[in-house]
C-alpha cells in the first residue's frame, strides 16, 4: 500500500470490526474494562496494548493517530484537542523555566500569544528571528535553547523558509526543530525527509473535512536523539527511543488533559480520507485566484508562494509536493477598502478559519492580530491594507466572479 489516499482510507488494516463496520466506530466511552486484574496491571505497565481511560487513549482516536502516522511515516503520533494544544504540549515537554526557544518572527497570532503572554511569565526565554536568514538563527541559539519552532508556511505572511537548512543549523547545536505543518500536512510536505524532529498540526483545518471539528496532532518523526534534551533524557533511559511520545503520553499530555474527543477523531478520520482530493482542488484554486488578483489594478500586491514572482517560489517548489497551499494575501489601499470589499462578498464568507471547504476572507489586523500593538503588527508585517483569503474547493470561476463584483465599487 503506497498511495497517500489509499493509506488514508484503509489505515494499517490491523483490526477487524466485530460487526464488519466499514467505518471506524465512535468509542464514546470514558473507561474500558479488563477481564482480570493482572490484565489491568499489564496495561498500566505498558506490557499490553489496551485502552483504559479516554483522556489517555481511546480506540477511535488511536485509529486517527495511526492513519496520520502511516501518511507521515512518523515514529508515532498523539492526537490532541487542538493545534494550540499540540504546540503547548510539545513546548512544555521540551523546555523548562530558564530555558530558551528560538522561533520565527512570523507566527500565527495565538502561537505568538502562547510564547509571549503565556509561557514567558513562567520563565521561558523566546527569541524571534527571520528563519530565511540562517545567520540570525545561528546567532540566537545558545546552550539553553531547547527547540527551534517555525511554520512551514507562515500565517498570514506566507513566508517559506528552507526547512532542511534550518534543521541542519539546529541539529548542529543538538536542538530539535518543531514545525507547524498545518498549512501543508503530510500531503504537501513530509517533514521527516527534511530533518524535522517533531511536527504539530491543527487537524481542524485540512484534515477535518470542511471545518467539522477542532483537533490537533503531535508527530514524532523518530529522527532526533532525545538524549540531547535534558527533560526527555531520563525517559530515554527509562523507556527507549520513543521517549518523547512516552513522556507526553505518561506525563505532559496526560496531566494537561487536552485529549481529542472520540467523536472529533471520527469526523477527522472521515476528513483525512478525502484530504488529498480537497487539497489538490483548493491549492489549484488558490493559484488561479492569486494569478487573477495579481492582474487586478485594484490590488497593489499579492502574496502567494505559488506565484513565480514570490521570493519563496523556488524553495516552496523544491520542498512541497503537489501545490503551494490554499492561503493567500493581498493588499488594497486601506482598511476602509478592505472592509468594503469584504462586505460586498456574496459567496466568499467573512470568517476566521483556514482550509475550510468554503472560501473565507478576513482582515488580519483588526481580527486575529487585534490585541497587538501597531509596532508588533508592523514587525509581523500585518498591515492595515492586508486581506487574507483562505481558498476553498468551490468552482474557481464562482470565487473569482464574487471577488470581481465585490471590487467593482472600490
Amino acid at each position: 500500500m503506497k498511495g497517500f489516499t489509499t493509506k488514508a482510507i484503509h489505515g494499517s488494516l490491523q483490526k477487524k470490526d466485530p460487526h464488519g463496520s466499514l467505518r471506524v466506530p465512535v468509542y464514546d466511552s470514558v473507561a474500558f474494562e479488563f477481564e482480570q486484574a493482572a490484565d489491568m496491571q499489564q496495561a498500566f505497565e505498558g506490557r499490553r496494548l489496551a485502552h483504559s481511560y479516554t483522556r489517555i487513549s481511546n480506540p477511535t482516536v488511536a485509529e486517527f493517530e495511526d492513519r496520520v502516522r502511516l501518511l507521515a511515516e512518523a515514529a508515532g503520533v498523539i492526537a490532541v484537542s487542538s493545534g494550540m494544544a499540540a504546540i503547548a504540549n510539545v513546548v512544555l515537554a521540551l523546555a523548562e523555566a530558564g530555558s530558551h526557544v528560538v522561533t520565527s518572527k512570523f507566527l500565527f497570532g495565538n502561537t505568538y500569544s502562547l510564547f509571549e503572554q503565556t509561557l514567558k511569565p513562567w520563565g521561558l526565554a523566546v527569541s524571534y528571528v527571520d528563519m530565511t536568514q540562517l545567520a540570525e538563527l545561528k546567532a540566537a541559539l545558545n546552550e539553553k535553547t531547547r527547540a527551534v519552532f517555525l511554520e512551514t508556511i507562515t500565517n498570514p505572511q506566507l513566508q517559506v523558509a528552507d526547512i532542511r537548512a534550518v534543521a541542519q543549523v539546529a541539529r548542529a547545536h543538538g536542538v530539535p526543530v518543531i514545525v507547524d505543518g498545518t498549512m501543508t500536512t503530510p500531503w504537501l510536505f513530509k517533514s521527516k525527509d527534511f530533518g524535522v524532529a517533531v511536527e504539530v498540526i491543527s487537524s481542524t483545518k485540512c484534515m477535518s473535512g470542511g471545518a467539522t471539528s477542532v483537533g490537533g496532532l503531535i508527530l514524532d518523526n523518530g529522527t532526533f536523539d532525545w538524549k540531547q534534551n535534558p527533560k526527555v533524557r531520563p525517559w530515554v533511559e527509562k523507556c527507549g527511543p520513543r521517549a518523547l511520545l512516552v513522556f507526553l503520553r505518561r506525563e505532559i499530555y496526560r496531566n494537561l488533559g487536552a485529549c481529542l474527543a472520540p467523536h472529533n477523531a471520527y469526523l477527522q478520520i472521515a476528513g483525512l480520507e478525502t484530504m488529498a482530493l480537497r487539497m489538490q482542488k483548493s491549492c489549484e484554486n488558490a493559484r488561479q485566484i492569486a494569478r487573477w488578483l495579481s492582474q487586478s489594478p485594484k490590488v497593489s500586491r499579492v502574496h502567494y508562494p505559488g506565484l513565480e514572482s514570490s521570493p519563496y517560489y523556488a524553495i516552496a517548489r523544491s520542498q512541497f509536493s503537489g501545490g503551494f497551499g490554499s492561503l493567500l494575501n493581498f493588499h488594497l489601499t486601506s482598511r476602509k477598502a478592505c472592509f468594503a470589499l469584504m462586505d460586498q462578498c456574496q459567496i466568499v464568507r467573512r470568517a476566521t478559519n483556514i482550509h475550510d471547504n468554503k472560501t473565507l476572507i478576513l482582515h488580519p489586523a483588526s481580527t486575529i492580530f487585534c490585541e497587538y500593538s501597531l509596532a508588533e503588527k508592523s514587525h509581523m508585517e500585518v498591515t492595515d491594507d492586508l486581506l487574507r483569503l483562505s481558498v476553498g474547493i468551490e468552482d474557481v470561476e464562482d470565487i473569482i466572479e464574487d471577488l470581481a463584483q465585490a471590487m467593482e465599487n472600490l
Binding site: A43, E45, G46, R47, A50, C239, G240, V246
Partner: protein, 71 residues
C-alpha cells in the same frame, strides 16, 4: 528454545530466529509502534531484522498507552 516474553516463560519451536520473526510468530499487536527491550536493553527499530534471539532472553514488548490515568 525457551525465552521470557513480558515476564512469562515461552517455549518456541525454533532454534534460531530474529526479533522481527519473533514479532510475527508471537503475533505482537501493532508491531509498527511497539517498543522492544531485550535483557533490559532498548532496541532501535532499525535493528529488529538483524537482532538474533537467544535461549534464555528476557524480551519485553511495551506500548506505554496507560500509566496512571483514570479516576
Amino acid at each position: 528454545m525457551t525465552i521470557k516474553i513480558n515476564g512469562e516463560s515461552k517455549t518456541l519451536d525454533r532454534t534460531a530466529l530474529t526479533l522481527a520473526e519473533l514479532l510475527v510468530i508471537n503475533q505482537v499487536e501493532s508491531p509498527d509502534v511497539v517498543t522492544v527491550q531485550i535483557n533490559g536493553k532498548f532496541l532501535e527499530r532499525t535493528l529488529f531484522g538483524t537482532t538474533r534471539i537467544q535461549a534464555g532472553d528476557d524480551v519485553d514488548f511495551l506500548y506505554y498507552l496507560g500509566g496512571g490515568g483514570g479516576r
